[in-house]
């Protein structure tokens, strides 16, 4: 059995930031990463980040990922196990994992769950035809493997992922037939939406897909307009000839390990699903188990990195490291999170966190 001070489950932006923060204070850290390479979703993000210098504004996602990986590599206190998936968290604190096809056990003093989120699916006739992808999957296919998914795409969802992936498809020479969005307004940043509109791609709000069709794979899709009660309006159907349908309809926090570990959970729509109840330093109701990043509420990589740092500092501090420095670092991280969430895009997250912290309501 492997013994370690801080075990971090997930080597994405939150997990890697947590690792270097805890190690910088002196804690020994082990990161478990499911994929062959750490970096999480950053590895495929070719767009530049917003925010301030502290949050790497102006750098592209994959460059930030490389920087975080480098920070962990150069730290003697951080070990990263790739091709390793955590399988369970048990009552006695033992964590099991599948590592390079071996079953291993780990006994950590503190755990930080930074498992991220998975793509949501929606229901419509023929929704399993080949050619229907999650937007994240398309981004991986293009930006990591250099493969375009098809010739002409219908994008479902006008949040930031739908908009950014549409633009990257256009850059790769793929035509976007339309971006449709069930809500009456575009969810993503205007700067992304404007770029796409300027290139002549329609963004149709209050629209949904009614069915996909095709013999062996997608040959087209039928879309229609929705009324103010989100009901389809008869006679507004349009037939679009596309060979790819891309779903960018949101993410769900990957909280199975938190459920298993008996963290108290709460369903908060603003945070995209069931999330663990935690204090402001990100410790859940299971003592010594922290969360950071999308698993604690779906947001952006910028805030995931700061949450990771906060969880890493807090875990190390609770082990007796950084008794002088940690409180100040915690306050700095909290201030950065408030700053990141102060804009209109952060309003929803703030509302969700308020709901999550309210202990008076029913929990499951």
């Amino acid at each position: 059995m492997k013994e370690i001070e801080v075990l971090i489950i997930g080597g994405g932006p939150a997990g890697l930031s947590a690792a270097s923060a805890a190690a910088n204070l002196g804690a020994s850290v082990l990161v478990l990463e499911r994929d062959e390479l750490p970096g999480g979703q950053l590895v495929k993000q070719t767009h530049k980040f917003f925010g301030s210098k502290k949050q790497y504004a102006g750098d592209r996602g994959f460059q930030i990922g490389n920087l975080l990986i480098e920070q962990c590599k150069t730290s003697a206190k951080v070990e990263v196990w790739t091709n390793t998936t955590a399988l369970g968290i048990y009552e006695d604190g033992v964590v099991t994992a599948e590592s390079q096809d071996e079953h291993v056990k780990i006994k950590p003093k503190k755990i930080i769950v930074a498992t991220g989120a998975s793509e949501k699916m929606i229901v419509f006739p023929n929704n399993d035809l080949p050619g229907i992808y999650g937007a994240g999957a398309v981004q991986t296919l293009m930006n990591v493997h250099g493969i375009v998914p098809g010739q002409r795409v219908l994008m479902i969802g006008a949040g930031n992922i739908g908009l950014i992936v549409s633009y990257q498809l256009m850059q790769a020479g793929v035509e976007i037939a339309a971006i449709i969005e069930a809500a009456p307004a575009i969810g993503g940043y205007l700067v992304h939406a404007s770029k796409i509109r300027r290139a002549g791609v329609p963004i149709l709000t209050s629209h949904t897909i009614t069915e996909a069709y095709g013999q062996e794979s997608v040959e087209g899709a039928v879309i229609c307009k929705l009324d103010e009660n989100w009901q389809p309006i008869q006679g507004t159907e349009q037939d679009l000839k596309v060979d790819v349908i891309c779903l960018a309809v949101g993410l769900s926090p990957l909280t199975e390990l938190c459920f298993q570990a008996d963290c108290r959970m709460k369903y908060v729509p603003e945070l995209s699903g069931h999330v663990p109840i935690r204090d402001e330093y990100l410790e859940t109701t299971r003592p010594g188990l922290y969360v950071a990043g999308d698993v604690s509420g779906v947001e952006e990589a910028s805030s995931a990195m700061v949450e990771g740092r906060l969880a890493g500092i807090s875990a190390a501090y609770s082990l007796g490291y950084g008794l002088e420095a940690a409180p100040k670092l915690q306050e700095e991280a909290l201030a950065e999170l408030n700053e990141l969430r102060s804009g209109p895009a952060g309003h929803k997250t703030m509302k969700g966190i308020m709901k999550l912290m309210d202990k008076g309501e029913v929990v499951c």
Binding site: L87, D101, H103, K120, F124, D128, Y213, F259, M265
Partner: protein, 89 residues
């Protein structure tokens, strides 16, 4: 083309009609539905279908989706080959 099907659980190939029929028959929770039809027991372990089934239950019983009882989560979070256990710790 075959008849149009709306898939809820991709791993086990379970349709929306099948889920709705079970709910109409009186199955009230995600765990019950899982036990009779295997929804959520494939490689993704319910990451795709769990909340889709929760939505159908919420619609039928006219409750907020957050009030639908979640299934029990047990190790392991993904399918693992028996050989891996046999070889490992």
């Amino acid at each position: 083309m075959q008849s149009k099907e709306t898939i809820v659980c991709r791993c086990e190939d379970i349709t929306l009609d099948e889920i709705k029929t079970l709910i109409e028959q009186g199955y009230r929770t995600i765990d019950e539905i899982k036990r009779v039809i295997r929804a959520g027991m494939g490689p993704c372990q319910g990451r795709t279908c769990r909340m889709l089934i929760a939505q159908e239950l919420a619609k039928y019983y006219k409750v907020p989706v957050g009030e639908v009882l979640m299934p029990t989560f047990r190790p392991t979070v993904k399918p693992v080959k028996l050989g891996t256990f046999a070889r490992g710790e």
